[in-house]
Each structure stands twice: as C-alpha cells, then as structure tokens.
C-alpha cells in the first residue's frame, strides 16, 4: 500500500531520513515508532507529498502512483499530531467543508454518523475555537474518515486523549481495519501500537532499523520467554516435572504459581503442560510472557541494531 524506495530527506548536511525502504501491506495496521527526531513525521510528510524528498520515491496503492496527485490523496485520510482548525467555524461547518472538498455523498448523514461514533454529536453547532485538545483530535479523526479512504495515516492519533478517548480511537481503528482499510500509525504510545498493529517499523536517526510482525520482531530480539502456570493448590513438586527439559532455563515456585523460563527458539508450552499433567499437577491457567514492544524498542534504538534483511523487504 505504501512503499518507499531509498527515500531520503536532506537539510543542509543533515539527513533527516536516509535510505528508507518501507513496505506497508494492504489491509494491515502498521505501527511506525521511533524516538523524537527519528524522522517519522518527515517520512509521513513525504508520503503525502507535502515535503519533497531529496532522494528516492514514495509509491502508493498500485506502486505506480505518487501522492502528488490529487485523486490519489482522495483515497487517503490523515490525522496529524495536532489539529489546527478554523476557530470561527462550527464543527458541522468544518466537516461539511471537508466533506464537500472530498465530494462525499450524503455527507450530512456521514458527519452525523461519525460524530456519534466519537461522541461529539451534541457539539456539532459549537465553534471549533471552543473545543478542547481531545475534542479537536476527535474532529481530526472524523475529518480523516469522512470520505471513507482506503488508507489511513495517523500521526500520534491519541495525543491529548483521555483513556476513554484512546479506547474509542482504538476501536475505531480496528473497526476501520476490519472493513479493509490499511492503517499507518506513527505513535509514541507503544502499548497502543502493540495492541493494534500487525506489523511495526522502528526508526532511529533517519533510518529504518526494524520492520516485522510483533511476535517475529520480539522473537528475533529475545532468547527467553517466561511461562506462568497457576494451580488450584500449592504444588511444591510441580517444579520437578519440568526440571529435566533442556529448554528450561529457570524455574520459580511461589505458592500456587510456577514460572518456567524457557528458550525462545520455539513454543515449548505443550511439552511443559504435558509433563506436569503426567505427574498429576494440572494447571488451571497459563500465560506466556515475552519481551514487550517497549523493551524491543529500547533494545533496538539504544543499540541501533538493524534487524532488516532482504527477506523483510
């Protein structure tokens, strides 16, 4: 859906983005993360043809189209980090204006429907100048969805939102994705990216360091996982059932809970559970804990590890 080829942006001697080869696939939710100054917003602006690349190119949809064409931009919905709205317009007027701009059919109904989804239907006649930051962000969302775009580009979409608002946005994004939209999210809120995204791209110092599915990324970075098992009563002998496995790196028993640290090269949960049951220790609950996106992010960016191989492109 979005493909960048050796994309670069130079300001004087400084390269804000360099040799960027992104690949966002159709129908997925792609998370774009990186520390401040990594080049994420610059990348988004080049994708939208608001900034001209110094090198390389950006291709949208069928690989042949550049975003400088107005008809292409009709298929894109954008929510920027901050919403700069026309303070003298009402919410309705603002959305109606954009609806007309995008030639949305039945835009009145569409505006009402989307406003209801973000719980702003009772302030449609209020001036935008009086809106809070969170409300403005929601208005930005509605504006981005008005014309039912195929591609959503969200730059810090939950910035300024309360937890309720964040939840609403997450539901909105998931729902739109279920309808077939591709979503490209740039965010600092790694927990949200982790929950939402199918694939993640990690950027630092203008370069893309990693781009993969969450689990694959974690797997490539981590060597161990932890399996938590809960029993109905204390089972002091349960630890012995798994001690003999060569993939077990550590065992911790505390009350009814048994934690088994295992190698992360494959999924050993079945072996562990079978071994326990065969010895009469039946777990009532299990949980596999792997490295979080935050931990992966910090690892990658701190150590500037590039996990990109040809297979990832």
């Amino acid at each position: 859906m979005i493909r960048t080829v050796d994309l670069g942006k130079q300001y004087g001697d400084f390269w804000a983005v360099r040799d960027l080869n992104l690949n966002v696939r159709e129908g997925e939710i792609y998370g774009f993360v990186g520390p401040n100054g990594a080049g994420k917003t610059t990348t988004i602006l080049m994708t939208l043809a608001i900034l001209q690349p110094s090198r390389g190119g950006v291709y949208l949809f069928d690989d042949q189209i550049r975003a400088s064409r107005a008809d292409v931009r009709r298929k894109i919905g954008v929510v920027s980090e901050k919403q700069f709205l026309y303070p003298q317009m009402t919410m309705w007027e603002y959305l109606d204006f954009f609806g007309e701009l995008y030639q949305v059919e039945n835009r009145g109904e569409r505006i009402a429907e989307l406003a209801t989804r973000v719980e702003l239907d009772d302030v449609l006649d209020r001036r935008l100048g009086a809106f809070s930051r969170g409300m403005q962000q929601k208005v930005g969302f509605v504006r981005a969805l008005l014309h039912d775009p195929d591609l959503l580009i969200l730059d810090e979409p939950v910035s300024g939102l309360d937890p309720m608002g964040i939840r609403q946005v997450r539901d909105l994004v998931e729902e739109e994705n279920r309808k077939g939209k591709t979503v490209f999210i740039s965010s600092h809120l790694l927990s949200e990216v982790e929950k939402l995204c199918h694939r993640v791209g990690i950027m630092n110092n203008g370069r893309l360091l990693a781009e993969d599915r969450m689990d694959s990324l974690v797997r490539r970075l981590t060597e161990e996982v932890e399996l938590d098992l809960e029993f109905s009563k204390e089972e002091p002998q349960a630890a012995e059932a798994v001690r003999g496995f060569d993939f077990v790196r550590g065992i911790f028993m505390e009350g009814k809970f048994l934690t088994v640290k295992m190698k992360a090269d494959q999924d050993y949960r079945r072996d562990v559970v079978e071994a326990l049951i065969s010895r009469g220790h039946v777990p009532v609950g299990t949980r596999l804990r792997s490295m979080s996106l935050e931990e992966a992010f910090i690892t990658i960016t701190k150590e500037n590890i590039s996990l990109l191989t040809k297979a990832d492109a």
Partner: protein
C-alpha cells in the same frame, strides 16, 4: 492541477467568500468607497449647478473608478494576509492532505478575490443606479464598460496580493512587505514621472543621468506594478479609447496569470508548513 482541480478550488473559494461575507470588513470598505464616491458626485453636481453646463458621455465613470480603487485596496490586503494567515494558523497543511495542490489552492484564493469583488460590484451597481436616478445623471454603456474593466484591474491587485502573501511567512510580514513593495512602486513611479516632466536644459547632469536610469528601470518595473494597469485603465476610460480599454483588460489578465503562476512556484518552493517536520 489535476482533473479534479476545479471542484476543490470552488469549495475553497466558497468557504473563504462566506467567511468574508460573514465579517464586517467588506461592508465597511464598501461604505467607505461609496462615501468617497458621494463626495465626488456631490462636487460634480454642485459644479454643474454653478456653471450650468456639463458635457460628458459618462459622468459617473470617475467616481466609480475611485470606488473600485478603494475596494481594490481592501482586496489586496485581504489577499496579502490570506495565505500568511493560514500558515500562521497552520490550517494550510490539512487542506493539502486532501485533493488540493498548490495550483488549486492559489487559484482558489484568486477565485475568492474575484467573487468578493463581484459581490462588491453589486453594491456599487445598486448605489450608482440610485445616484444616477437621484441626480438624473443617468447610466450609460461607458459606465458599464468601466464596471467591467474594473474587474480586470482588480484582478491585478488581487493577484499581486496573493503573490506577496506567498513570499511572507506571517501576517505581519506580509502586510509590511505589501506596503513596502506597493509604496516603493508608487514612489518610484512618482519620482520617475516628476523627473520625466522636466526638460533636459533645466536639469543638472547628475539628474539627467538619474532620469535616464530611472526611465530604463521604469520600462521594466512598471509592468510589475498592479497600479500601472489601474492607471492604464483609468486613462482608457477618461480618454474614451476602445482600443486602450481592450488592451488594458488583456494586459491585466496576462499580468494576473503571470502573478498566479509565480505564486504557485513560490508556494511549492516554500512549502505549506510553517515549520518543517522532525
């Protein structure tokens, strides 16, 4: 500009026009221009009353022209601040997420200016109709000709304002730039005009050199000033020359086209964001 360019252009222009009509500025400008016209007209009528005879094809042409100059100044300032204000407010970028490109945007500003002027012209037409009836001066084809010509001339001023607006990053800078450039052009024209009227034997050698230098510069500079086209138009009207009239209109449109093209180039080069990204 893409195939879909006209629709977004129209939508943008409509929004801006609505914003102008909802404000009080345009009405105050019209009021001021009509008051000035009334003063001129009243003096006209009094002088006829005193001297008993006036022979002219279109007595309303001059007060109408003055009224259009006043309104053109408003349109110029409105254009000058328009792009800079959107950059200041950072609302410009959101437009470019959608089916709006640089050419569409600039043309929408121009269209808004022209539509605003047409809105103003309705008031001018109504006023002069009343004035001609009250005074029995009557409207003529020449008057309608001036009205139509004023549209072309105001186009020059609007596009000049748009161009200046693309150069500046903020409202204050754009206004100062406009006043500076416009003031400079006017001062240049005045000084050149004054020196040209003095014959060589009356001038010192240094002034002759200055005059000749200004003449060469003026040959080029005058074409960049929208006020030159207004002067040409006024001359065409006062001299009653159809040829000059048509030429004035045509040159105004060429000027406007060039200014718009230059505005698009400048906007592309400077970008639509007030600050660049990460």
């Amino acid at each position: 500009m893409g195939v879909l360019g006209f629709h977004p252009m129209w939508v943008l222009a409509k929004r801006e026009l609505r914003s102008a009509i909802y404000g009080i500025g345009i009405y105050l400008t019209i009021l001021l221009s009509l008051i000035i016209s009334s003063v001129i007209l009243q003096n006209y009528i009094k002088s006829v009353g005193r001297d008993q005879l006036l022979i002219t094809a279109s007595p309303l042409a001059y007060p109408l022209f003055i009224a259009t100059v006043v309104c053109a100044v408003y349109l110029a300032l409105s254009s000058v601040t328009s792009i800079a204000r959107e950059k200041d407010m950072q609302t410009l970028e959101a437009l470019f997420y959608g089916p709006v490109d640089h050419a569409t945007y600039i043309l929408s500003k121009y269209l808004k200016g022209v539509l605003s002027y047409i809105f103003i012209v309705l008031f001018l037409a109504a006023y002069f109709t009343v004035a001609s009836t009250v005074s029995n001066l009557g409207l003529s084809l020449k008057f309608l000709g001036v009205l139509l010509l004023s549209l072309f001339l105001s186009s020059c001023v609007i596009t000049f304002g748009i161009f200046v607006s693309t150069l500046a990053g903020s409202v204050r800078t754009s206004v100062l730039l406009f006043l500076g450039i416009a003031g400079g052009l006017i001062a240049f024209q005045i000084s050149h005009g004054a020196l040209v009227r003095i014959e060589e034997p009356s001038l010192a050698a240094a002034l002759i050199y200055l005059r000749n230098t200004l003449a060469i510069i003026n040959a080029g500079v005058k074409w960049t000033s929208p006020f030159h086209y207004m002067n040409q138009g006024m001359e065409a009207v006062s001299l009653g020359s159809v040829g000059k009239y048509v030429l004035s209109g045509a040159l105004s449109m060429i000027y406007s086209a060039v200014a718009l093209f230059a505005s698009v180039l400048v906007l592309k080069r400077k970008g639509v964001r007030r600050t660049t990204g990460e």
